[in-house]
């Protein structure tokens, strides 16, 4: 139960109308999530799993259609 904010940039190169290459960099910042857990003894603790995680990636694609 979280929020992801992703920004990305891409460079596209079409060799013709049907063939292309893509090069993309993107980054997601994960935030939010369950803030508090209450156990059987009534103790409240924080368990904000994955909060502040940063997922970075590079992707490329060769695409062709007919």
């Amino acid at each position: 139960m979280r929020r992801a904010e992703t920004w990305e940039v891409v460079l596209n190169w079409w060799l013709n109308d049907y063939t292309g290459l893509q090069f993309q960099y993107s980054q997601s910042d994960i935030s939010g999530g369950p803030q508090l857990f209450t156990n059987a003894a009534g103790v409240v603790a924080s368990a904000n799993v994955n909060n502040n995680a940063k997922i970075e990636g590079f992707g490329t694609r060769l695409r062709f259609d007919w």
């Binding site: 979280r2 992703t6 891409v10 893509q22 997601s28 209450t38 695409r63 259609d65």
Partner: protein, 390 residues
Amino acid sequence: MKVKWKGAPELSSADGKFSFKVRGRLQTDYNAIDQDFDITGRPDVNAAELRRARLGVEGVLFYNVAYKFEVDFANDVTAIKDAYVEYDGLADGLSLRAGNFKTPNSLDEMTSSRFLTFLERAAFVEAWGLDRQIGAGVIYAQDHFTLSAGIFGPEPFDDEIWLKDVKTGAARATFAPINREVNGVHQVIHLGASWRGREGAEDRRSPPSGTSISNPFNDELFRYRARGADLHLADRFVSTPQVFNEDQFWGVEGAVIWGPVHVVGEYTQLEGDIARARFPGTPPLLCCNGKDPTYDGWYVEAGWFLTGETRSYKEGEFGRIKVKNPVLGGGKGGGWGAWQIAGRYDVIDLTDQATTIQGNPTSGTFPSSLSANCTQCGEQKPGRLSSIGG
């Protein structure tokens, strides 16, 4: 008999009453992803995949009856994609369609993967489950507006199992007050809105004999999740439990094309209804403090063709780029091709009603009522507490 080149030969009768074309697409990806192991516990990704490998046919069956059938063979899975028959003989721009096709929602979803600016669609498209489903619909399309609506059953993979269970209605309207070419400059202003309502299975059933489904919830209930970095080989880092049996989606969309520049934005909301009857007494533990959450997803993107091309637009969708100076192309080859740079900011927010849940974070255990159903709890992380609940 006439032969026309459209990426592959299209054969048609001289009077246009019949036509036939083999169609397909091949998309080969490589992803390198840092998944922030210290926080998430997920290893980095360095992998290649056949993202799409489709083969199909399309054409005119007879006079005003058209057809399209395409199968995706990527990743050792055979998946039926577009598979429909369409009749457009009632009036100009009016089509009746039946088969397996996309529910009419979202500009990003309606745009073919062949013509996407980025590798993947915005996160909400996968998260909300916008996809093809079996159904029937009506489409009315003119240069400056479109209206489309349909009723749908399940996705094709489910058709032998949950045929009568999932019921979906969807509609989309678009308006393009400007859709013209002035002094060689392509100009479009596009506005649109769409809606979809889904209702899942009404009763819990055991999997049919002979199937490999171990948990009937996997097909009966909805959940919403998205991958990191908007890349297909990344793990899913935002997710809800699989506890919803109805949902309502709506979205608004806008786009501007002005010569080589385009700007697009969409805002969507989805309200999920928890299947309370399935989990008597436990909804507060399962999700969202027992309340029906409202999630949202949106994006803005902008792009620029350095070489002067423009995004094509027709009937409320983006289409194929026409390259001015192709690198490859028989007698027309030898140019630079078309170069485009683009950026996108994409947000998906599944935090509504996510404040407090019950469990034991120190030991990673859950109440027994939850543990029994923990395959529905969104993504799991070995040795750590999952993001179950909200």
